[in-house]
């Protein structure tokens, strides 16, 4: 497979982060709000990734909430395809070229995991608290568009 070009404004959230966004008011929500509030940023997700998150959400809450969440997230994310056996978050990041992968999984966010994926793609794998602390929308916008950052341009609520 040919590697895609890296997308500095592309973000993938693993299923644990997607579910924590809904159920836990914390860094996962803060991180995804930062992505959703900028039209020039893209949240990538695969069918497998969304199915994982929906199943967990349905198991922990109720089917209707999970189904409504799925409809909402589908309208706000770009779909990526990958084989069923691949890790949904890593495969989505690789195939989309997203520069950021958010996960609570220690195995993904460890320095070793970062090293192992770097030969293949420019990907920063971080837990949401680190992303929320380090992500600078203004700096990224100005590097991409060469003009002053106008602030968030989408009312996410």
């Amino acid at each position: 497979m040919t590697a895609v070009e890296s997308d500095p404004a592309g973000v993938v959230a693993d299923a644990d982060v997607l579910v924590a966004d809904v159920l836990c008011d914390g860094y996962a929500r803060e991180s995804l709000l930062a992505v959703r509030s900028h039209s020039w940023m893209t949240l990538f997700a695969s069918e497998h990734l969304l199915a994982d998150a929906e199943a967990v959400l349905a198991s922990l809450t109720d089917e209707q909430l999970a189904s409504d969440w799925r409809a909402q997230i589908e309208s706000e994310s770009e779909r990526i395809e990958h084989p069923p056996g691949d890790h949904p978050a890593l495969a989505t990041a690789y195939r989309s070229g997203a520069a950021h992968l958010l996960s609570f999984d220690d195995q993904l966010t460890s320095a070793r995991a970062n090293l192992s994926v770097k030969p293949h793609l420019t990907l920063s794998v971080r837990p949401p608290d680190a992303f929320a602390r380090l992500f600078d929308a203004a700096s990224l916008y100005e590097s991409l568009f060469d003009e002053p950052y106008p602030g968030p341009d989408i009312d996410v609520r």
Binding site: A15, D16, V19, A20, V22, L23, C24, D25, G26, R29, R36, D52, A55, V56, S59, L60, T61, L65, D68, W69, A71, Q72, P84, G85, F104, D105, V156, R157
Partner: protein
């Protein structure tokens, strides 16, 4: 429907991050076993 509505409905549940991680781990293990068969 929107995020505020989803967050409000989700707030009725008291779910920890640990519970989410455990559930996701169990779900992915089950999915992997199904794919192998």
């Amino acid at each position: 429907m929107g995020w505020d509505d989803l967050y409000e409905r989700a707030a009725e549940y008291d779910i920890s991050l640990e519970a989410i991680e455990q559930e996701l781990s169990a779900h992915r293990k089950e999915t992997t076993e199904e794919e192998r068969q």
